[in-house]
């Protein structure tokens, strides 16, 4: 187990720059040790070295990023203090389901090939307003549907810890690019686990925000009652910075919550007296033994830091998977109806409009998107609505009530993020149910809309990272981040980097 193990390079200083966290980059920029242009150039150099093996990006915005970095350097000189621009000159990657004006955006689908959005997602706009430099768009499962990034129409992403394995998904490109030290942080989205599970499989820190906490404007919709925008980074501190910059009410998203975003203060004792619940339903047979062992060890460490640990029950956990795989596809089937070859993306020509719809959609959606559109259409169709969608929304209420009851007794919930570490490329891709089971521990929080975080708490015998998941009450991202930070102060799992 070797920590920072980047191969020696001729230009050592540039290599070191990509090893820095956002907090360290900010310090160096402040003291003038390096410029934003150097940071961005270092990220691009790192990318040109590792990207052929990883395929974490769908678009690398080299020129735009270098120009933005030069602007940031100029601004730093003219404005001086950067309180107004906390992320000034910091390189960030963005998952390809979030639009950035003038950068190609496909959501990993052939049905959006060539699309260049004329507007920017609010989450990205807020990062840019805070000074961040967008390096590029990261790979994901088509329309964020998947748990391995193998469902991208543009080829899969490799896990930096073992290139024969998946990075998780759907935000696999974001997780891999952070783990491989290409960028200090990246935006992801989480509908059923798509930030937390790849964070777990790539050994980084990934925050799924409360539903409504971060605007969905400019997020290509998948499951509208489930979609959230989150962040992946190496440390809780860095993730907190991205979260703080993008959270808060946005009138372009009617479901964005009008809730104050607290300043996250990492001083003091986050864990003293904190009650953490460990749900027995998350330690089931079938879970990889090392995952159970390491997550239990991490929970024990949280206890040593002052937390009180209690076993709790979330009795409807086992129903989360069938509920999710009705509701998410149902919403997806409606959201994806807009892709018809008329306003954007390619069109398969035909003599009449009807055939344009059928041929374009039939040929341009990939297998997983097609599968989910079919499941969703069926679940919403006449005669089946009550039995499937109606019943799923009722059971979803029971799952929500499980969390509400639990949070009357405990402050946080701790559990594994995923039942296993990174699996082999191709292992589950032809078996949709096996792939869906990868999300079994992340789906319940998504259905309830509560926030969650995943961070590295050790490795298995193949030296693949294992993630601990914390789930918090609505709008308590601050608590998740503070506890993760406290854990990262006494452990160094998050500092280890893959050999690449």
């Amino acid at each position: 187990m070797n920590g920072s193990s980047l191969s020696p390079q001729s230009d050592k200083s540039m290599t070191n720059l990509t090893e820095l966290t956002i907090a360290e980059m900010q310090a160096g920029l402040r003291t003038g040790d390096f410029s934003s242009r150097e940071l961005v150039q270092a990220a691009l150099d790192r990318l040109s070295k590792v990207e052929p093996a990883l395929h974490a990006f769908l678009y690398i915005a080299s020129e735009e990023a270098l120009a933005a970095a030069a602007e940031a350097d100029k601004k730093r000189k003219s404005v001086g203090a950067t309180g107004q621009f906390p992320l000034l000159g910091i390189p960030i990657a963005v998952k390809d389901v979030l639009t950035v004006e003038d950068l190609p955006c496909t959501a990993g689908s052939k049905i959006l090939e060539g699309y260049v959005p004329p507007f920017t997602a609010t989450s990205v706009t807020r990062l840019k307003d805070a000074g961040a430099v967008i390096i590029g768009k990261t790979n994901n499962d088509e329309f964020a549907m998947g748990s391995s990034t193998e469902h991208s129409a543009y080829g899969y992403t490799h896990n930096p810890w073992d290139l024969t394995r998946v990075p998780g998904g759907s935000s696999g490109g974001s997780a891999a690019s952070v783990a491989a030290r290409c960028v200090p942080a990246a935006l992801g989205t989480d509908t059923g686990g798509s930030v937390r599970q790849p964070a777990s499989l790539c050994g980084v820190t990934g925050l799924k925000t409360t539903y409504g906490r971060v605007s969905r404007f400019g997020l290509i919709a998948f499951g509208s009652s489930l979609d959230t925008v989150g962040a992946l980074g190496r440390t809780a501190e860095d993730v907190a910075q991205i979260f703080s910059a993008m959270a808060g009410r946005d009138e372009l998203d009617a479901t964005s919550a009008d809730m104050p975003v607290p300043e996250i203060n990492f001083d003091g004792d986050a864990l003293r007296g904190l009650k953490i619940g460990v749900p027995k339903e998350y330690f089931i047979s079938g879970i990889q033994p090392e995952v159970e062992e390491k997550t239990r060890t991490a929970i024990q460490q949280l206890k040593e830091l002052g937390a009180e640990i209690r076993e709790i029950s979330l009795p409807h956990t086992e129903y989360a998977l069938p509920v999710y795989y009705i509701i998410a596809p149902a919403e997806a089937s409606a959201n994806l109806a807009r892709f018809d070859g008329i306003r954007y993306g390619p069109r398969v020509d035909a003599d009449n409009l009807w055939d344009v719809f059928f041929k374009t959609r039939g040929q341009k959606f990939g297998p997983e998107a097609t599968r989910r559109i079919m499941i969703g259409t069926y679940a919403l169709s006449t005669g089946y609505y009550d039995a499937y969608y109606g019943q799923a929304q009722k059971v979803r209420t029971l799952i929500k009530q499980d969390f509400e009851a639990a949070f009357r007794d405990v402050d946080l919930i701790a559990a594994p993020t995923a039942p296993e570490t990174a699996f082999k490329i191709g292992e589950h891709v032809d078996d949709p149910l096996a792939m869906y089971l990868e999300d079994v521990f992340t789906l319940p929080a998504s259905l309830a809309g509560v926030p969650g975080i995943s961070f590295n708490c050790g490795f298995d015998k193949n030296h693949l990272p294992i993630g601990l998941q914390l789930i918090g009450p609505y709008f308590r991202e601050d608590l998740l981040l503070r506890v993760t930070h406290a854990y990262q102060q006494v452990t160094d799992w998050h500092k280890q980097s893959p050999k690449l």
Partner: protein, 95 residues
């Protein structure tokens, strides 16, 4: 529960998807297995449970219904596979 080929064709038609014969058979098998799994939900008595509507705790907040500037036409048309005279161009709907 096993879906029939006819049911798969009906779903595909509702979803505006042209599928090959091979795809229909594949989705018939896969969807049948997935729907079997979903049947688990019928175990629960939900007679007195209200369905969830929407995500999290969120209440919709609607803005004032007032005229605002929008994206210019050319920005919206530039991604269209075919356009003409500031409009999306499509094949004939009626003969």
């Amino acid at each position: 529960m096993a879906l029939t080929l006819k049911e798969v064709e009906h779903i595909a038609r509702l979803a505006r998807l042209e599928l090959t014969g091979e795809q229909k058979e594949l989705y018939r098998e896969q969807l049948s297995a997935i729907l079997d799994y979903m049947a688990k939900l019928r175990e629960l008595d939900t007679k007195d449970v209200l369905p969830t509507a929407g995500g999290g705790l969120t209440q919709m907040i609607l803005r004032e219904d007032e005229l605002r500037p929008s994206l210019p036409k050319d920005a919206l048309l530039k991604n269209a596979p075919k356009s003409e005279d500031d409009q999306f161009k499509i094949p004939p709907v009626f003969e």
